[in-house]
């Protein structure tokens, strides 16, 4: 996803802006207070600056690690129905339900 104000920062100090924090909040769907955003700006800035130590490592011609065990192959199983959760046990943790279904606020507006 292309975000305004987000540009690669490797090789520079992490100059996070309030706008970057707000974009991240939006992308992550987490509401954060003004005060929390101020704190995040400082904390994330420090942590991201710390990441820049990786710049010094030569990774030319190194393959990225997608799995730590070299022996792992694709795992497949027969297409057979196994044990699944019952509707009741699945719904037992739902915060709001109606008629055996999960209830959510309306997503389609009346015209």
């Amino acid at each position: 996803m292309e975000q305004p104000g987000l540009k690669p920062l490797m090789g520079t100090m992490a100059n996070l802006t309030k706008q970057t924090i707000q974009n991240l909040i939006k992308l992550s769907c987490i509401e954060c207070s003004e005060e929390e955003q101020e704190r995040l700006l400082i904390d994330l800035g420090k942590i991201i600056s710390y990441f820049e130590m990786l710049d010094a490592i030569d990774t030319e011609n190194v393959a990225p690690c997608n799995h730590v065990l070299a022996s792992v192959v694709n795992v497949e199983r027969e297409d057979k129905t196994g044990k699944t959760l019952s509707r009741d046990s699945f719904l037992s943790n739902a915060p709001s339900q109606i008629g055996g279904l999960i209830r959510v606020p309306p997503v389609i507006k009346n015209s």
Partner: protein, 487 residues
């Protein structure tokens, strides 16, 4: 006869099987200890007296009936609260999951109950296993039994404190960057992190899926080996679980490993303070007297492990925790009027500051324009670390380091998140390389707090790690010390 709580899990089981103590009185002993001490320690989020006593009664009857019982018969065991036990809470110490009850058992739960262990309760942790001190629990504080003003380490701090205080002889934790080994070190007990893929993650609430492993916390390496025999099994419900037979770790640790070469990455450890360095050197000396050869190895690339870890783990966490949206389970914000508000407000109210920080950081390193610069770069450095370890294991059988540069620190002492991340400098690289490693008590600092020795093996070298730790433990015996406060 020594008090039952002083015994190892294996000794407790053997007394039960011989008929010298009933399962009910074992459970009652530990329940009484929890009642007496846990108000000060805060290890347990929930204790299961009825469940445990009813299981114990059944075991007593089955033993009387002449039935052959399982490998863990009569042993009370505590679970970190991110491992599912059907019908019981799995809060992950988060407000988001305060009311969540697991609708199914984790694979480890099924395996452990099939061997007749008795689950006695669920323990406190850093919220969603994100932390190194258990201070990030949104539900309660846990104190270190060696010094109640200090943290027990984290994130499996509740499990470590419970075992150290002999509130139960055995516990399960999970280790993503050191979360079993660090609290084991801080609490003076044994903590084992298996090779990635040895133990099923099915039913463990995911944090960093390419790093997470469930592991045992115990007072002896033999107990840890026994529990590993049970849980180290291929599981078709976890596609990263490797398909190899279970190993008889308990038999294997009794075969004394001869002619061991142990590598120490001195360059990587150069900043170690004098006191922990001296204790670590003593441990190496003990290993030498036991016949091991100590050699210097080069693992300087591990200096970058914190940076690599906090890119990869937060990237995985931001993906894994997207499921906590207030729709299907967890707490839904009562002020939300629209679907979008359900997501935003539920996460705002449900997640603590560290969890939010890691989700946002993970989102940052995965966003367009950054993914190659951070995430892919970190994956490449991870490859280099794996290679570096592979090369090291051509020069030695095991690697030794301290578990932590410090003993347990005071509650509230570390406020800066990055400073807290640096606590895990010696443990994190092991998860990045998928290796097995153990924390075994190596002595006490002048302040009376314990420190752990870390022994690291090559992938699938779990048995050798346990065997070497067992050899060291029999000689050093630091694992037998019990905090005065709970004697």
């Amino acid at each position: 006869m020594s008090e039952i709580y002083n015994l190892s899990a294996i000794e407790i089981r053997d007394r039960f099987l011989k008929g010298s103590i009933s399962a009910v009185s074992i459970v009652e002993t530990f329940l009484k200890r929890i009642e007496k001490y846990d108000s000060k320690i805060g290890a347990f989020l929930k204790v299961f007296p009825e469940r445990a006593l009813s299981q114990a009664k059944k075991l007593d009857e089955r033993l009387k009936g002449g039935e052959k019982l399982g490998k863990l018969a009569g042993i009370p065991i505590a679970f970190k609260d991110n491992i599912h036990v059907k019908g019981e809470i799995s809060t992950c110490a988060s407000k988001f999951l305060t009311n969540y009850k697991a609708p199914f058992d984790a694979t480890v739960t099924e395996l452990i109950e099939a061997e007749d262990a008795i689950i006695i309760g669920k323990t406190n942790m850093d919220e969603f296993a994100m932390g190194s001190s258990t201070e990030n629990s949104a539900l309660q504080k846990t104190c270190n039994p060696w010094d109640l003003s200090c943290t027990p380490g984290g994130s499996s701090g509740g499990s470590a404190a419970a075992v150290a205080a002999r509130l139960c002889p055995l516990a399960l934790g999970s280790d993503t960057g050191g979360s079993v080994r660090l609290p084991a070190s801080f609490c003076g007990i044994v903590g084992f992190k298996p090779t990635y893929g040895r133990v099923s993650r099915f039913g463990l609430v995911a944090y960093g899926s390419s790093l997470d492993q469930i592991g045992p916390l115990a007072t002896t390496t033999a107990d840890a080996a026994l529990l590993m025999e049970v849980i180290g099994k291929h599981c078709p419900r976890d596609s990263t679980s490797f398909d190899e037979p279970q190993e008889a770790y308990l038999d294997k640790i009794n075969n004394r490993p001869e002619g061991l070469t142990i590598g120490v990455p001195w360059q990587f450890l150069e900043e170690l303070a004098p006191e922990p360095k001296q204790i670590f050197n003593q441990a190496l000396e003990t290993l030498r007297t036991l016949g091991a050869k100590i050699v210097d190895v080069d693992l300087h690339i591990l200096k970058h492990s914190i940076a690599v870890y906090y890119i990869l783990a937060t990237a995985e966490a931001s993906t894994n925790l997207a499921r906590f949206d207030g729709i299907r389970y967890g707490v839904r914000s009562s002020k939300a009027k629209t679907l979008d508000e359900v997501y935003r407000y539920s996460k705002e109210e449900g997640f603590g500051p560290e969890v939010k920080r890691r989700i946002l950081l993970g989102t940052y390193v995965l966003s367009a324009g950054y993914k190659d610069a951070y995430y892919k770069k970190a994956q490449k450095v991870r490859s280099l670390m794996i290679k570096s370890y592979e090369k090291t294991f051509t020069q030695c059988d095991l690697v030794a380091t301290p578990v932590s540069p410090f003993t347990a620190f005071e509650i509230g002492a570390i406020k800066d998140p990055l400073q807290m991340y640096l606590e895990d400098i010696y443990t994190i690289g092991i998860n990045l390389a998928g290796l097995p490693a153990i924390s075994v008590p190596e002595g006490f600092a002048k302040d009376g707090k314990p420190l752990g020795l870390q022994l690291i093996g090559p992938q699938k070298g779990d048995a050798l790690v346990l065997a070497a730790a067992h050899l060291y433990e029999k000689q050093s015996k630091y694992n037998l010390a019990i905090p005065t406060f709970v004697k």
